[in-house]
Amino acid sequence: MIQRINSDLVAGALGVVVCAVFWFNRGTLSPLSGAFPDAVLVVMLAVSGALLVKGVISADICPAFPDGNAGRVMAMIAGLGLWWLGIRYVGFLVTSTTMFFVIALSLAAAVETLSLRRALFFAAVAIVIVGGFYLVFTQILYIRPFRTPLP
C-alpha cells in the first residue's frame, strides 16, 4: 500500500520547527546582526502558519516515497552516514573503496545475478576509480587529505 502524507501540514510544521530552532539559538544579537534574521523568521513563521491552515482547509496529499523503494533510500542514507564516519575516523581511500564496492554491488544485485568473478570485477573497478580520483585530487590538484590512521 502506498503511504500518503499531507504535504502542506508537514511543510508548515517543519517551518515552525526550523523557526523555533533558529529563534532559541539566537542568543543576544545586536540590532545590526539581528535585524535581518529576525525579519526572515517573522516571514517564515507567517508562511508556515499559512501552510498549516491550508493543510487543514485544502490539503495537498502526496505519496511518502514517490520514487519507489523506501528501503533502498534508507539503506543509501545509512551508507552515506557510514561513508562519512569512515572518511573522518578511518581513512578516505580505504573507506571510499569499500563503500564504492558495497554500493555498486548492492545496486547491481537488484538487477542481475552476481558471481564471485563479477564481484572481483566490481572490486577492481572500485580500486581504479577511487584510486584514480584520489591521485588526481592529491597529486595534481594538491588537495591535502584529512589526517586519519589509514590512507
Binding site: M44, C62, P66, F100, I129
Partner: protein, 512 residues
Amino acid sequence: MDLLLAAIPQILQPHMLITIFVGVAAGLLIGSLPGLTATMALAVLLPFTFNMDALQGLAALGAIYMGTIYGGAFTAILINTPGTPSSIATTFDGYPMAKQGRALEAISAATIASVIGGLVGVTALLVLAPPLARLAVTFGPAEMFWVAVLGLTLIASLSSDSLLKGALGGCIGLMLGTIGVSPVGGETRFTFGIPAMQGGVSLIVALIGLFVIPEILSMAARGRAALTAPADMSLERFNFLPVLRKVISKPVNIIRSCVIGQIVAIIPGAGGNITSLVAYNESRRASKDPESYGKGNVDGLVASESSNNVMVAGSMIPLLTLGIPGAPPDAVILGVLMLHGLRPGIELFTESGVLTNGFILSMGLAALMMLPVGLLGGRLVYRSILKTPHYFLIPTILIVTILGTYALRNNVTDVLIMLGMGVAGYFLRIIGIYAAPIVLGLILGTIAEQGYTQTILGGMADAVPQLRLLDNVLSQILFALVILALISTLLPRWLGRKRGTTGPGTPPPGNE
C-alpha cells in the same frame, strides 16, 4: 585602435592558440566536476602560468575561466548537478531536455549560447569598458539590496505549484545564509555551539548537497540512472544547424540575457550565479509560453548560458579599469596582473595597451574555441554517462561530490553538511519544497542583508533610516522593477486560477 591591431598578430601565434585551446579544454573538464569552481580552477592552475610571459599567462587563465563557466553546464544538463554555481539556472531546462532524450540538443544549445555570450562579453569589454565602469561604481548598498530582492522575486516563478512552499524554501535558504559571522555586525550567529559552523554554510556545499544527493537517492530508489539511453543510439544523431537556427531565431532572448549578464557582471560581487538566475527569470517572464519553462524549453537554457558567459569578460571591466574584481575568479586574474607588474587603470589601456587588448582578444578566441571543444567534449561526456551502468555511475558521482566538497576548504565537516543537506533536500522535495528556492535564498540573503544593514547604518541620523533604501533614482528604478517583476509573475497566475486553467502538480522550473 592601433593597439588593438598590434595585439592581433601576437595572439594568433601557434603557441598562443595551443595555450588557449588547452586552457578551454582544462577549464571545461574542471568545470564539469561538481564542487570545483572557476576560482578554484584558476587558483590550482595558476602555477602553470608562472613560466609564461604576461600575455600567454593571462590568455591561459582567461581561457580556463571561460571553459570552467561553460563546463558547468555539462553536468547541469546531464545529471542535474550544476558543475559551477553559474549553471544553477541551466539545470532548470537542461536536465528535463536530457530526460526527454534531447541531451545533445541541450548541450549544443548551451554551447552556442555560451559562445555568443562569450563574444558579446568580449566586445562589450573592448568597446564599453570605461563608461560601464563608471556605472558600476554608482551601485551602493541600497542598490545592491534591490538587486538581491529582484533576484529573490524569482522564487515566485520557481514555485508554480505552491507559492507558499516556494516562499518557505526561500526563507530556509535565507536563514541558512545567516549562519556564521554577520556580514556587517561581525557577531557570530546560529552556530549551534559547533565551532566549524562559524564559517557559515558554503554555497557550493549547499549546492552540491541539495542538487546531487536527492538525485542520487532517487536513482537508488528507482534502481536505475536518471538518464536512459535511447534504444538506438543512432536516434541521438542530429544536425547541429537546426539547433543553431532555433537558438538564433529568438534574438531578443539572447540580447536581453546578454544585456542582463553585462549589467550584473560589472557590479562587483554579484557573480555569474545571480546573472544566470536573473536572466532566466526575465526570459521566462517575457516568454509567450512561460509554462513550458522548467520542462525542457531551450530558451531558458539559452538565457542562462549566454548570460553567465557574458559575465566572464564582463566582470573584467571593473577589474581592468578600477582594480575591483567583478567576481571571485577575477581576483586571481588581478593577482596575475600584479605579478607581471601591471596595475589596473587607464595605463593598462595605454602603456600596456597591446597586452591588455591581446588578453581581451584571447578571451574572444577562447569563446570561439568552446564550439569545437564543447561539441566534441559534450558528446564524449554524454556517451560516457549513458554507457556507464547506474551501479557504477552512482558511487562515482558520490566520490566526486565528496572529494569536491572536501577540497573546498579541506574540511570534513563540509562533507557532513553536504550529505545532511542532501538527505534533508530529498525529503523536502517529497513535500514540495525544492532545492532551487533554498539555494536562491542562500545566494541572495547575504547580499540583501549586507545592502540593507549598510544602508540603514548610513541613515541612523534620519527619522526613518529605511527611507534611505529609496534615496536615489537608481534605487527607485530597481524598486519599480521588483514590483513589476512580482506583478508580471503573480497576476497571470492569479488570472489563470480564476479561469481555472492552471494545471496542478507540475514541478516548477529547476525542481524536477
